[in-house]
Amino acid sequence: MIVLPPRVHVVATEWLAALMEKAAPDFVIDGYPEYATEVAQLDNDQRYMLYRAASAVVRSFGEQTHVSAVFIVGHADTANKIALHQRAGFEMEVSVKRSVAAAAALRKEMNRLSENAHFTKVLPIRTRGAGSSRKRVQIANTEHDMRKNRRVEITFAYTTEPSPHCGN
């Protein structure tokens, strides 16, 4: 678990992104059909995983240690149907789109679960694409294995609030 000093995410975005990219993800949503980027294109189990991630964020705000930033990395499988010279760029584009779409879906679900609470509107969600550089199955010959590679990884950073006290 990454626990940050209060509000460090506001001033140290790149440092935070580098830190979170190295951490084990809290949630992995995989199973994207080939080149699909939207959460709506996933099956029920994977969409439920997004719901669980949103629910975890919202529930955390009932605790003194709560989520203070979310980092989403999109991943692609090898795009075998794309010409070799265009492949890396295409894979990067797909992975970025996956991360951005997952962020939007996560924000929407957090808003719904929290009844549009302020913290879900301003919670920083950073996105990044990794192309096919970090495949879970290096040699994916089956659709099942390929779908393991087509994924987004969601990592949380936490902040611990001070004990309740008055400022007067």
Binding site: E115, F119, E161, P162, P164, N168
Partner: protein, 198 residues
């Protein structure tokens, strides 16, 4: 009828059940205060979803995210949220020429750093005490919900109740304009303005 108005224009809490729980708990605290007043001086706690009007007998407590401060808006102080760790604050506007404390407006706010109805209700009562008793740090010596640390381990004491009962009929000018200040900030935030809290 004296009213304690809780207001959260920026939806810093969100969940309906938490609003209801906070209202119920704060009403419970003030029911003990009411019991020491004449029957005609009932105290009603309400959490209106929209705007409101307030008399000088009412108390307004705003719930705001830490990014923005109604109290700072009233007192014209600049606040750096990076340096603040408190959960609530009450202050009066700065005196101008000829203004005396009874005519100065007073504002109270609670920051929901954690969505916990019990803690937020106690903080709301604590800030209401600062507001109505016109006290700063000296309030904290009173113990119970007057203590500086207002966690779930603190309870309303008879001393707290007696202090508030003695002050409830004393007019304290409030700052209802804080609602519009926060509502405008909400509009800017929802429009995507990165400077929404400035």
């Amino acid at each position: 009828m004296i009213r304690v108005i809780l207001s959260d224009p920026l939806v810093s809490i969100g969940r309906t059940d938490v609003y209801l729980a906070i209202t119920r708990m704060v009403q419970g605290f003030f029911d003990r205060v009411s019991a020491r007043l004449p029957a005609s001086d009932r105290i009603q706690v309400l959490f209106p979803p929209g705007g409101f009007q307030a008399t000088d007998l009412d108390i307004i407590v705003y719930f705001t995210p830490t990014d923005i401060s109604v109290v700072a808006n009233l007192t014209k102080e600049s606040i750096d949220p990076l340096t603040k760790s408190h959960w609530g604050w009450t202050a009066s506007e700065r005196p101008g020429a000829g203004a005396s404390p009874p005519t100065l407006r007073r504002a109270s706010e609670v920051y929901p750093r954690m969505i916990d109805a019990d803690v937020l209700a106690k903080l709301a009562f604590h800030e209401a005490m600062h507001n109505k008793l016109r006290q700063g740090q000296e309030l904290h010596a009173g113990g119970g919900l007057a203590s500086a640390g207002v966690g779930s381990d603190k309870s309303l004491t008879d001393i707290n109740v007696a202090a508030m009962a003695a002050a409830m009929k004393t007019p304290v000018k409030q700052y209802p304009e804080g609602f519009e200040f926060l509502r405008q900030a909400r509009l800017r935030r929802d429009a995507g303005d990165p400077m929404w809290n400035r």
